[in-house]
Amino acid sequence: MRIGKLLILLVALLVAYGILITVAELPPYGMPDNPVHNQVSERYINEAVEDTGVLNMVTAIVLDYRAYDTMFETIVLFTATLAVVITLKTSKREESGK
């Protein structure tokens, strides 16, 4: 029992060490020569207003460039609500019957 808990602590510390090493190796925040700033984000920043006529670039990406993504996101929301209603709803007919 005691040894098992020590083993769990050791594994947790090892995982934390690995994660912290990975964080230390990340490129610094907000630098212009980071690998995230490639041609994709360059194209979005330069041509979003011309392509969509929208000033807020997040809305331009969510509702125009990646519109399929948002569409299936709303379908996922619909399915989740449907599951909750089917599971928890007690209908009027069933209530009066009992």
């Binding site: 610094p28 925040y29 630098m31």
Partner: protein
């Protein structure tokens, strides 16, 4: 490897974030844990605001409050406060 001068506000906010998420694990009363979750999501919204993403800040604040209310409703409906 070189470091950027990190804003000290983000350091303080991240510390509050770690403390709040540890407190959510250790608190026994579920209603108190939900209130601490509200503080967690407010801190997260402030961090997003510090990192210049107001979109995520608004969404985080609204969704955090919404989740707090819904979890409180579930706790009071099932009438099981202590875990």
């Amino acid at each position: 490897m070189h470091f950027v001068a990190v804003d000290y506000w983000i350091m303080i906010l991240l510390f509050i974030l770690v403390v709040a998420s540890l407190a959510m694990y250790f608190i026994k009363d579920l209603v108190h844990a939900v209130i601490v979750y509200g503080a967690y999501s407010l801190t997260m919204a402030l961090i997003w605001l510090q990192m210049n993403t107001p979109d995520l800040a608004i969404t985080e604040a609204a969704a955090g409050i919404c989740m707090t209310v819904l979890m409180m409703v579930v706790i009071f409906r099932t009438s099981r406060r202590e875990e």
